[in-house]
Amino acid sequence: MSETPDVVLQVEHLSKQYKKGVYASRDVTFDVKKGEIFALIGPNGAGKTTTIRMIATLLKPTEGDAKIGGKSILTDPAGVREGLTYLPDEAGAYKNMKGRDYLRFMAEMYAHTKQQADKFVADAEKICGLGDRLNDKIGSYSRGMTRKLLLARTIMPRPLVAILDEPTSGLDIINALEIRRKIKELASEGMSFLLSSHNMLEIEYVSDRVGIIARGHLLELGKPQELIKKYEADNLEDVFELVVMKKDVTGW
């Protein structure tokens, strides 16, 4: 697997087969460059989460490989984990912990020194914008507050790649907007993002490149505007419909 210098995540022929003949993800290949926001879009059951979980070293691929910062998920999963953070879809946090304690706990997982952990926590406190509510138990937070806390925790160690699965699902418009802005802001500072969403309009707004995935296959890859032009569509949602409906996908 060759790698260009600005590529931080390289995914090649990644497949996951749960039982013979049934692939949740098949032959998925793409890369994410430094400071890029890459989105995997697709309907429910398309294979987005399976692909993301393989990259996050949670699932072992049946075939293929992925590298983060040159480290392979097959041969050096521990090294891969040093370079990524992962925010699962509809994730929760430890309800009996206070927000600040949770950030400290997670910072200690990524930091090599106490000073570094302090810096991570200070950054996360700013990112989440929860103020004094960080002294309250997470169990008392609204869904939006919890999501902001988790997003802050995902971003604070400044990983090579932050993987966000449905980052704004279930959030109101204001909270979702705030999170999208934050993602764009951090990407402009050089952090790379791998997003997954079935909200096409959000992806069109936030991402630099998208991969359309359906039935485990990566069907299309490109910049949102290029794809819209290519398919002579009005928006990414139309592109998605055209791609998914027209492509002949085997192995389903």
Partner: protein
Amino acid sequence: MNKFLSLLKKELREMLTAQTIGMLIFMLIMMYSMGGLMTRSSEEAQEQSGRITICDLDKTEFSESVVEFLKQPTADMTNDVTVFELESDDYAAELNKLGVKSFVVLNKGFTDKIMSGEQAEIIYVSRMTSLATMSNMNVGSETAVQLISAAVKTALYTQKVNEGALTEKDALLLEAPVGVTEHTIVNDKSEGVSQLLLYSSLYSRSLFMPLVVYIMVLLGSQTMINAVSAEKIDKTLETLLSAPVSRLHIICAKMLAAAVIALLNAAVYMFGMNNLTIDLTGDLPDDMGEKLRNLGLVFDLKTYMLIGAQMLLTMLIALSLAMILGAFAKDIKSSQTLLLPLMFVTIIPFMASMFTDISGLPGTFKYLLYAIPFTHTFNATDCVLFGKTNEYVFGLIYQIVFLIVCLAITVKIFTSDTIFTMTEHGAGLFKKKKAQTED
């Protein structure tokens, strides 16, 4: 449309879950198994009380007639009487030689005492092998005294009536012609104390040691299953497992924390039960402590360490099993159900150890119980106090092997993707079609 009926059906469907049905089946099996065990133990105790091994040191016509009367069947039972010759005062050696649990000695001068209108003493020697309730009930002394008294009464009455010389003194003696001096053997050591008194003095420990193990296993397992399932359901486990932290550390931290909580609970219960049981047992003779020490029935540092080693192993096995079971959790409700198998394999040896001497059970029962790793800890106090070294060592080795296997499975689950695939794709157990809809 009967709305009430619809509501009732809905409530029944919600309440009559697999968990409820599982619990009912479990209770049925448990009660059936325990009933069988207790009936068997009770029958054995009954059979034991009718088995009398007797030595007649007096060797008079009267004492021989007493032995003959013992052999005669009564309305409700037939006694199995074996007569033997006592060769020494080493009662432990005599018991070993005879291969019986107890024997009775009619002392020299037995007849003289009776004939002079005094109560005659018999010696009752028994071996104590367990702290289990049934093993220490109906040990035989009372039955033996009753039977010998009845035999003496019959012999005395027949003789005196035949002689036409039944006096008022004789009539008084007939009320309680025989007294008993009891000796109990523990690990080939003998003390002049009754087995029942020994059991009473150790009652508190015999009661709360298994209880502490039971509480420890269940609370530890419950804590662990809740912890693992909550992490899975809230997806905090995905966050943790994708972080740069050793997965072994994640497992060890969880197990240690659950063990601390379980031990804390056990300590509180132990303290409470200790106070409670001391009150229940009441006052014991002043020299009881010395007699217990002489028999080796003391809970010293070595005893605690040996029992503690098995308790620790049991705790680790339970936590490891709970981690494996917790990984199957799909939601909070299912996490509660997952405790059932552990409850099942804990409560059976717990109850068995309380009522019966497990090592004395027949083969199938015994080996089925021994296959449950927790049994060895419930049985540990008996093994340590009553010198069942082989059983203790076997139990310890079995528990270590079991723990290694459990830990290997736990580590395998947490270090591979099994933790995420075993419920969703059930490792072939549940939801086989889910792979197709995996997002």
